[in-house]
């Protein structure tokens, strides 16, 4: 899974008010807390920790905005296909290198954003015109609270394909995150 969807864990709509989130949190604690589930402590512990974590994110306005950004703008995981002619051996080799770094970056994305970022940047080093990698770099930077840098990467993606609606949405969400 990419990022946990905390709204799903708390069983609320993403548009839920703070009060609704709080009520949902308390109700779920009732359901899951180990004090109320002495016969299945391990399960209760895991469920409760999830609920507590979700509430920690959604009850904090800053974190909630970031989380909204994360779930609406998931990372690009699929490697785009590229075909090469037999005389483009050198280019093909470079692309393969870039693809390898990209996949490593995707694998690290959920766990460790700073390392994932490095991998995507390496991929860019091999293959500059790589919108998926640029996009993922932007996401990593958002996570590391470097919004301005992230914006410049998203702009590069947009410049490559001005008709892409998705990147425009991402940029709008980024503005919301800032505001």
């Amino acid at each position: 899974m990419d990022t946990r969807n905390y709204y799903e864990i708390l069983e609320v709509y993403p548009a839920a008010s703070n009060e609704e989130i709080e009520n949902a949190y308390r109700l779920l604690l009732y359901k899951y807390h180990p004090d109320h589930n002495p016969d299945r402590e391990q399960w209760a512990h895991e469920m409760t920790s999830k609920v507590v974590e979700a509430y920690e994110w959604l009850s904090n306005p800053e974190k909630r905005k970031l989380h909204n950004f994360q779930i609406y703008c998931p990372a690009k995981r699929k490697l785009p296909e590229r075909k090469f002619f037999f005389f483009q051996k050198k280019k093909k080799k470079q692309w393969e290198n870039a693809a390898l770094r990209f996949q490593a970056g995707v694998a690290l994305f959920a766990k460790q954003k700073s390392k994932s970022l490095l991998k995507f940047q390496e991929a860019i080093g091999f293959w500059a015109n790589f919108p998926e990698a640029l996009y993922n770099i932007g996401l990593c930077l958002v996570d590391l609270h470097k919004l301005e840098e992230a914006r410049s990467y998203f702009h590069r993606v947009r410049d490559m394909n001005p008709k892409d609606q998705e990147i425009k949405r991402t940029l709008r969400r980024l503005d919301e995150l800032k505001g």
Partner: protein, 563 residues
């Protein structure tokens, strides 16, 4: 299922309660009082007395009477707070071989949990007499600022006293639980706890029956004893002025003064003036002298004004920590005998700008709350939930001796948090995980609470292996730390059981000792005929217990009716 009692193990007074038929019943002690002084006095014979009889020895036999033991629970002798407190107690404190604190009485060393266990054992025994059946399980309260070794020490005392401690809960939480608020509405509660020896203010949030401690702040050396001391000093000065005799040198006179001072203080909560008379307090060449004085409420307020004012800064600090202003507080709950003093109530009322919540008994509400939580754990109450927080940040030592926090202070538990770390050198095949607790940026300044190695990491350049370190804290506050190498899937974990300084074998040894010592001293008075006979050293299984006893009782009844 056997009964679970709730115990408020206080600095100066303790209290026990139980839920019976959906109501909290405070368990009276053998002397018929609802609270028991937390005092243990050791007699020359090697036996000890607990409670009211021990309190009477406080000044006459100061070296062998232990009070305020709670201040020393789970601490080392070198701890700065211990160094300060040891000036205030007449008994001798020494260090054990591992640096832990011990109380030396007549050449024998006792650990603080052992002494607390003597108090708990009395409460347990009184509860058994009252209920007519064995009590083996309890919920015990402790201050919100207690750290995990202090909490563990409290648990250990329970075990030594023959009680299985199901949960340690925070005193302010217990008090607000007992306040019986309407649980549906959301509210913020301030619990103002001014007891015999300590003061603290906690801010809690209550919503849908979930109680959460938001912040806590206090003064561990402010309480009723300080107020008594002021009265004693005033009486001594007064007497010195009239008769030119200094009573400070006379221990027995001091003991008598202490008793009357406390009584006068309590009286002044209701009346405007109290008469203090102590006949034959001293004598000189002209004959016996009597002390008589009249203490008015205004005078008492004048004597203790600075003490009352000292409660205000912690209140403001606690509010600030919870990001709240006084106006945000919906209820103010007063706990501790000292909150009966009209001046204290007035000051608090003025601070929060609202009427105080009246529905609690300040001496008993903490024990009552513990009893309610006991009932929750038993499964009898389903609409209440206590949520605890970690009192300290937890993390591991990383490169350069830095402390990387993984679980922040005041995180709600249960909690699971993880972070990824890597190796510092090329081809490093193992990492040592050192778990620390504390708030300082350097690991060495914090407290090391556990160490383990993760071995068998495949050789790789530095910073390539990914090691996930996860912290799991369960509802009881037990911390489990695991390290996983994400590449190979190798996992290594430890459970960190907080350490009170006592080893398991020491605990079981003390348990046996106390069980053995209890029999000759304490069975002699046999206060009630209701007392059941059962081996105290090893309480029988709860299930068997109720099965065996019930028929006997019935038989007795039928016999009675039959004749």
């Amino acid at each position: 299922m056997s009964k679970i009692i709730g115990i408020d193990l206080g600095t100066t007074n303790s209290c026990a309660a139980i839920m019976q038929d959906n109501e909290v019943v405070i368990i009276p002690n053998a002397e018929g009082m609802r609270t028991t002084p937390s005092v243990v006095s050791f007699l020359k014979t090697g036996e000890w007395v607990v409670g009211e009889p021990a309190k009477r020895q406080e000044i006459i036999n100061p070296e062998s009477t232990v009070f305020s033991i709670k201040r020393f629970m789970g601490l080392k002798l070198t701890d700065p707070s211990v160094q300060k407190d040891r000036q205030l107690v007449p008994y001798e404190l020494v260090a054990a071989s591992n640096g832990d604190l011990r109380v030396r009485i007549r050449g024998r060393d006792f650990s603080p949990p052992e002494i607390s266990a003597m108090i708990l054992a009395k409460l347990k025994r009184d509860a058994e007499n009252f209920l007519g059946e064995a009590v083996t399980k309890a919920v015990i309260t402790c201050p919100a600022y207690f750290n995990d070794s202090q909490r563990q020490a409290t648990k250990d005392s329970g075990r030594i006293a023959g009680l299985e401690v199901l949960r340690i809960i925070n005193e302010p939480t217990a008090a607000s639980l007992a306040a019986g608020f309407d649980r549906k509405t959301k509210r913020k509660i301030a619990v103002f706890d001014l007891g015999g020896g300590t003061f603290d203010l906690s801010i809690l949030e209550l919503g849908n029956g979930v109680f959460e401690v938001k912040s806590t702040c206090g003064d561990t050396h402010l309480g009723g004893d300080d107020f008594d001391q002021r009265i004693i000093e005033w009486l001594i000065e007064d007497f010195k002025g009239k008769e030119n005799i200094d009573l400070r040198k006379d221990r027995i006179a001091l003991q008598r003064l202490k008793e009357v001072a406390e009584k006068a203080k309590c009286e002044l909560s209701e009346k405007m003036a109290a008469e203090i008379t102590l006949p034959f307090i001293a004598s000189d060449a002209s004959g016996p002298k009597h002390l008589s004085a009249k203490l008015t409420r205004t005078k008492l307020e004048e004597l203790t004004k600075d003490l009352i004012d000292a409660t205000l800064p912690p209140c403001e600090q606690a509010l600030q920590d919870a990001n709240l202003r006084t106006g945000d507080i919906n209820e103010v709950v007063m706990v501790g005998g000292m909150t009966r003093v009209p001046k204290v109530r007035e000051v608090v009322r003025r601070l929060f700008g609202k009427e105080l919540y009246e529905g609690v008994n300040p001496d008993e509400s903490v024990a009552a709350g513990a009893a309610i939580q006991a009932s929750v754990l038993k499964g009898n109450i389903r609409d209440i939930l206590l949520l605890d927080v970690t009192p300290f940040s937890l993390g591991i030592r990383t490169e350069g001796g830095m402390f990387s926090k993984i679980v922040e202070k005041n995180s709600t538990i249960p909690v699971r948090k993880s972070e990824i770390f890597s190796t510092a050198k090329d081809n490093q095949t193992f990492v040592r995980i050192q778990v620390y607790q504390g708030e300082k940026p350097m690991a060495a300044d914090n407290k090391l609470i556990g160490t383990f190695d993760l071995v068998g990491i495949p050789a790789a350049p530095r910073e390539v292996p990914q090691i996930e370190v996860a912290f799991d804290i369960d509802a009881n506050g037990i911390v489990r730390v695991s390290a996983t190498d994400l590449a190979s899937g190798k996992e290594q974990a430890i459970k960190i059981t907080p350490n009170s300084g006592l080893t398991q074998s020491e605990i079981s040894q003390f348990t046996k000792e106390q069980a053995a010592a209890r029999v000759p001293v304490e069975q002699a008075p046999a206060p009630k005929a209701k007392k059941m006979d059962y081996p105290e050293a090893a309480p029988p299984e709860p299930a068997e217990d109720s099965e065996v006893k019930k028929p006997e009782k019935k038989k007795g009844l039928f016999g009675l009716f039959g004749s």
